[in-house]
């Protein structure tokens, strides 16, 4: 983790990305990070963001937004049913299953139940 840009740029100024933002992103990706790792990622992600920010210097007034690098459009298939996986193939690798269903930890979203 030693690189010329590991300070995330502009020491003392607003960081490009804060530790809280890193924590938030880690949570969205369901990653558990230690404080050390968060700091490490803050610096690395900051460096990446700053590098990508160079693109802001380019004049894109007359450039169409690109969502694909391949120039294909309208790739469609006909509405034809094809065989599916067998149930065993489909859920065989799930950690837990019962009666043909995958069994997952329950997530409750009402406030009455007291369970989250």
């Amino acid at each position: 983790m030693s690189s010329g840009r590991e300070d995330g740029g502009r020491p003392g100024a607003d960081p490009v990305i804060t530790a809280d933002e890193v924590r938030h992103i880690a949570h969205l990706a369901r990653l558990e990070l230690t404080d050390r790792e968060i700091e490490w990622f803050r610096v690395r992600l900051g460096a990446i963001l700053e590098y990508v920010a160079k693109l802001n210097e380019i004049d894109i007034e007359n450039v169409e937004p690109t969502s694909h690098v391949i120039l294909m459009e309208n790739v469609l298939r006909d509405d034809v049913v094809r065989p599916s996986l067998s149930r065993d193939e489909a859920i065989g690798s799930a950690p837990s299953s019962r009666n043909g269903f995958v069994a997952a930890p329950r997530i409750i979203e009402t406030d009455d139940s007291g369970v989250v």
Binding site: H24, H27, L28, R30, S67, H68, I70, M72, E73, N74, V75, L76, R77, D78, D79, V80, V81, R82, P83, S84, L85, S86, R87, A90, I91, R98, N99, G100, F101, V102, A103, A104, P105, R106, I107, I108, E109, T110, D111, D112, S113, V115, V116
Partner: protein, 481 residues
């Protein structure tokens, strides 16, 4: 203070395709759990989605049906990222920023008042799986991935609705055209139509909107209406107390008839949309929509109006006769073949509708062919059989024996009316001669005795005399005594 509710509606309907939106798995309802999945809809590594042409076509058909002003030139797909047990990929492939179409509208009617409701956008996307909970086990969800990847059409309205009744009318109007145009079967019980209203309340006359809440878990039109009414009252109660409505997603509890806020962590709404790299943009929307527009079937509103003006039938009759494309086609075939739209409508609204309700009639495969019903209607008009006998005896016989011709049925049942004037005149003369006392009383002004004479003629003819002719004959003979 008087308040006004502002209601917008997000509706999802399942598009009527055989296979899923991004893969070839079946969309058939009622399959055993987890038997309609593949690497694409399960999101297994390396699997590549390919867009179902039919889903695009049906989405555009909806855009044309709902009169969208803008068919998006370059519709594109995006990933909406979140974690939930019913979403094996960890993201939903939907449309974001570039939906299929925008700016549509639909007319609704509430208590005779017409109103136009704006449609903000139409997009196509995939459904998630289904979670099943068993009463006894509070810590486990059972997951069926069959629904993952089933194609959905999302219809988002403008906040143009004001009352629960309008919301109901909007859903009914939407369901009607969607079904009619063959876009979706829109069966709420099968989860093919779902809706999430959002509601805010403001003092009447204010321009600014209040804080919105969203309602979920509504599985019938009646629940939608009730839940919205509940939520409006709840908002008004909060405002009356001088408090603030908190933004929330409310879950409707049908049993308790109340809504309570869902507990969702804030970051759950950080979806990090980004362009779906595995699907290409759709740029054929405008051409396809033009083609669909040219082929679009007549929609229910237009059909009802045409039935009223073209066949001279009442709006209530037109509503029944245009209730589905199959019924409408049948009605028109009968009306044209018998030459009397009014009679045709009476038969559809009365006898045919009851047969349908009793499960004796499949609207898609009528048990009595249109020409045969028309022939029966003509027999009644010609006086060969009475209207009552046609309805109560001949029609049921034809219903039971689909090949039976109405003429045959009338004769087999011995119901042919006596309409021969000369023969009936003889009977009438006999009846008059046999009842001299009644004749005198009638001539003195007891005109209600006419019914007695008609009855006598009917008895003589075993009920087969044409009552119209008998009436005419009796009036003439009794008057000219």
């Amino acid at each position: 203070m008087e308040y006004e509710a502002i209601i917008g509606m997000e509706v999802h309907v399942q598009l009527k395709t055989a296979s899923k939106i991004y893969c070839g798995c079946s969309t058939a309802f009622g399959a055993e759990p987890n038997t309609q999945t593949c690497p694409v809809c399960l999101g297994l590594p390396g699997a590549l989605p390919v867009l179902n042409r039919k889903a695009v076509e049906l989405g555009l058909k909806a855009a044309v049906t709902l009169v969208c002003d803008e068919i998006v030139e370059r519709a594109a797909f995006a990933r909406k990222n979140y974690f939930y047990p019913d979403l094996p990929k960890g993201y939903q492939i939907t449309q974001f920023g570039a939906p299929l179409a925008r700016h549509g509208r639909i007319e609704i009617e509430v208590e005779g008042q017409q109103k136009e409701i704006g449609i903000r956008h139409l997009l196509i996307e995939e459904d998630a799986g289904k979670l099943i909970h068993s009463e006894g086990e509070s810590d486990v969800s059972f997951v069926d991935f069959n629904r993952c990847g089933v194609p959905l059409l999302e219809i988002v309205s403008e906040p143009d609705l004001r009352t629960p009744a309008e919301a109901h009318a909007y859903l009914a109007a939407l369901k009607e055209v969607i079904e009619y145009a063959g876009i979706s079967d829109a069966d709420m019980e099968k989860g093919q139509m779902r809706c999430e209203p959002n509601i805010s309340v403001r003092p009447r006359g204010y321009k600014e909107f209040g804080t919105r809440t969203e309602l979920k878990n509504l599985n019938s039109f009646r629940n939608v209406e009730r839940a919205i009414a509940f939520e409006i009252e709840r908002h008004i109660g909060i405002l009356e107390r001088g408090e603030k409505v908190e933004q929330a997603t409310m879950l409707w509890d049908e049993r308790a008839q109340r809504a309570s806020p869902m507990r969702v962590k804030e970051e759950a709404h950080d979806y990090r949309y980004f362009p779906e790299p595995d699907l290409t943009a759709v740029t054929l929307g405008r051409d396809l929509a033009a083609q669909i527009r040219a082929e679009l079937p007549e929609l229910p509103r237009a059909k009802r109006a045409r039935f009223v003006s073209g066949y001279g039938i009442a709006p209530e009759q037109a509503a029944v006769c245009a209730s589905s494309p199959a019924v409408a086609d049948y009605f028109e075939a009968v009306a044209k073949a018998c030459g009397d739209g009014n009679e045709a409508a009476k038969w559809i609204v009365g006898v045919v509708a009851s047969a349908v309700n009793e499960g004796k009639w499949d609207v898609n495969a009528p048990s009595v062919a249109a020409e045969k019903l028309a022939a029966l209607i003509r027999l009644v008009a010609d006086g060969a059989v009475s209207g009552i006998a046609a309805r109560e005896n001949v029609f049921p016989a034809m219903l039971e024996r689909p090949g039976l011709e109405p003429e045959e049925a009338v004769d087999e049942l011995g119901l042919r009316q006596m309409s021969d004037e000369a023969r009936l005149e003889a009977v009438v003369d006999r009846v008059i001669a046999a009842n001299p006392g009644e004749v005198v009383r009638y001539r003195r002004g007891e005109e209600k005795l006419l019914g007695y004479f008609v009855g006598q003629v009917m008895e003589e003819t075993k009920g087969r005399a044409n009552p119209k002719i008998v009436n005419q004959l009796l009036r003439r003979k009794l008057a000219s005594g």
